[in-house]
């Protein structure tokens, strides 16, 4: 599949001949998979050079910006002393490579530095904002799964019927509607019909779960739509592919109930490509939060990046983007590892 970051998928699909029920037996995986831990450690270690690469790209890219960063922040009316003080405080008067080593050695010990604008510590800010972004992403993912997987299965089972056609059109629309356009149009419809306006302010889940969910439902719904479209399409095509295979015919010939054929045999086998698309879509969701948080005024990590860019607060931008890239890579790793739960025939080399 073009652009598929998970090379194991195609190989995994080739193995999908037998009933996968046994492969969901976790004991068997860990007993058999003595290489599993080595694989996890190796994959985690592989994250380090890529993250270093990411940090170099972000840091040096932001340093290429024309003009004096101190001047940009303090404005044209700033005195030479205040400019020198700011440069000194953030090490901007040092050679760029020294600035990088200072920054990255701080990151290693969990010190992301302070904001050039506000002087606030960056890491606590990232963590508190990430909680919002994470909740939004997860809620969006859950909404999309609840809608997409059952509809995808139904479309696959009832191929070439009106139901199938409707699901395909809905899913293609889901993929084609940009989230910012859907958000704007939904806010428009709701405001005209119910006098709705996006809530101002944010309440944490643990402070007031009901208000929190009220605030997050619409943004999560909007964000989940595109993912739902993609997951629906993948579920449908995977189910179609599996239903054509010999083992399904055998199971049916044995007189097993259709419901069991679909859920215990076909769906479980179809899960690997569905999981792949879900893993890929979580990255899209994370990116999508930048826009959705902006539209719905949610103080998440995406909004932090955007505000940082608009205010040219580079320490915030580089810290937040590095953190997002780290989370993004961890999710991809997690998806890769989840394959083993679904199909232990996938070898870890």
């Amino acid at each position: 599949m073009p652009g598929n970051p998970i090379g194991v998928t195609q190989r995994g699909r080739a193995f999908l001949i037998l009933d996968i029920k046994k492969s969901l037996d976790l004991h068997r995986i860990f007993l058999k998979g003595e290489n599993m831990y080595a694989y996890i450690i190796r994959r985690l270690l592989m994250v380090i050079p890529v993250l270093l690469g990411v940090s170099i790209v972000i840091f040096f890219t932001l340093r290429v910006i024309p003009g004096d960063v101190a001047q940009t922040i303090l404005g044209t009316s700033a005195t030479e002393e205040s400019l020198a003080a700011l440069r000194g405080r953030f090490g901007l008067d040092l050679p760029v490579y020294e600035q990088y080593f200072m920054w990255i050695s701080g990151i290693v010990i969990g010190d992301f530095g302070v904001s050039m604008r506000t002087g606030a510590e960056i890491l606590p800010e990232i963590i508190s904002r990430f909680a919002i972004t994470f909740e939004l992403t997860m809620l969006a993912a859950i909404i999309s799964w609840i809608v997409a997987i059952p509809l995808g299965i139904i479309a696959g089972i009832r191929r070439n019927t009106k139901t199938d056609f409707s699901v395909r059109i809905i899913s293609l629309f889901g993929v084609s509607i940009p989230n910012f356009a859907l958000a704007t149009i939904l806010i428009l419809i709701l405001s005209l019909a119910f006098n709705y306006s996006p809530p101002v302010g944010y309440v944490g889940f643990f402070a007031d779960p009901v208000t929190n969910l009220k605030i997050l439902f619409l943004p999560a719904f909007v964000l989940g739509t595109a993912m739902a479209g993609a997951v629906m399409r993948m579920t449908r095509s995977s189910i179609l592919e599996i239903l054509r295979q010999d083992f399904i015919r055998t199971v049916r010939a044995k007189g097993v109930k259709e419901r069991i054929v679909i859920f215990n045999h076909a769906f479980k086998n179809a899960l690997i490509p569905i999981l792949t698309i879900i893993g890929m879509q979580v990255g899209v969701l994370l990116g999508g939060t930048v826009i959705i948080e902006q539209i719905f005024s949610l103080p998440g990590l995406g909004q932090m990046v955007l505000t940082g860019i608009n205010q040219r607060d580079f320490t915030v931008v580089q810290g937040a983007i590095l953190f997002i890239a780290f989370v993004f890579m961890l999710i991809n790793l997690l998806v890769d590892l989840l394959y083993s739960y679904l199909d232990p025939r996938i070898k870890y080399k």
């Binding site: 073009p2 970051p5 990411v54 790209v57 293609l172 149009i185 930048v290 826009i291 860019i309 931008v317």
Partner: protein
């Protein structure tokens, strides 16, 4: 080729996509003939005028004709789409061919760099590049082009790895054909099918990303008639003048939908596995 056109004719969904894409292209090319007004022409007497025979899609807060701006907006979208995808596809093709054909260290270096770019969600990478280059039409195209390069590189590399194992390539090598000639004459034409499909799908992605960046105020800058800019500007007035929101949204959705329909059909037609 004839067989391909015949199949595309039979595929009604793909045909709808193709017609939609052609309409957008015609709108963009003939914008000065189709649009009744210039995109920045202000009718100060008729600010936020609802749709009428004079202003088909109404006017915006400066009294500019929304229909004309949508038509000219097609130019912006297509321009960004074509140039950004052109940048991504060209570099992706070069890197992918080199990595796949030569493998070894060169492959490792190219693919590790691509891994780094893959570690960013698309929009964030584009935002970072825009933060450096500054928001403008040209920089938006460059940023999207850079974001798309790794996708094309991976696609071409994997296609090259398959193609280069064919006997005719081994034969060409055996009779002493130069590597450059093998790459250009024997490998490149054989990786074109997935490349073309990816270009169609990337076009919709580029148009979408441009609209998103412009919507955030970091892409094409006003008063350029980008659909994303129009949508962003409409937000403050959407309750009083909903047509300012509805038509740019419709333009974005229909265009991306048609490109996706066409891309899907091309994939089905060109993928030998699905063809069976």
């Amino acid at each position: 080729m004839t067989e391909f056109i015949q199949k595309l004719r039979e595929d009604k969904v793909g045909l709808i996509g193709l017609i939609g894409v052609l309409i957008v292209i015609v709108l963009a090319l003939l914008a000065p003939l189709i649009a009744p007004y210039a995109p920045d022409e202000m009718h100060t007497e008729q600010v936020m005028h609802s749709p009428s025979s004079e202003f088909l899609f109404g006017t915006d807060e400066f009294g500019r004709d929304i229909f004309s701006r949508i038509v000219y907006g097609a130019q912006v979208s297509l321009q960004v789409g074509l140039i950004a995808v052109g940048i991504g596809a060209t570099f992706g093709l070069i890197f992918g061919l080199l990595a796949g054909f030569y493998q070894g260290k060169l492959d490792s270096i190219i693919m590790r760099i691509m891994d780094i770019f893959f570690a960013f969600p698309d929009i964030l990478l584009a935002l970072t590049i825009i933060a450096v280059l500054g928001p403008s039409l040209t920089n938006t195209m460059v940023a999207i082009g850079i974001v798309f390069t790794p996708v094309f590189t991976r696609l071409i590399r994997s296609a090259v790895l398959t193609v280069k194992e064919n006997e005719y390539i081994l034969n060409a090598k055996a009779v002493g054909v130069s590597n450059i000639k093998i790459i250009l004459k024997h490998i490149t034409p054989n990786v074109m099918a997935p490349f073309i499909v990816q270009i169609t799908l990337a076009l919709s992605g580029a148009i979408l990303t441009e609209a998103a960046l412009s919507f955030l105020g970091l892409g094409v800058q006003p008063p350029n008639p980008s659909w994303g800019v129009m949508l962003n500007e409409s937000r403050a007035y959407m309750e009083f003048a909903p047509w300012m929101t509805i038509f740019p949204v419709a333009a974005i959705i229909i265009t991306i939908f048609c490109f996706n329909l066409l891309g899907d059909s091309l994939r089905d037609l060109l993928d030998p596995k699905l063809r069976q």
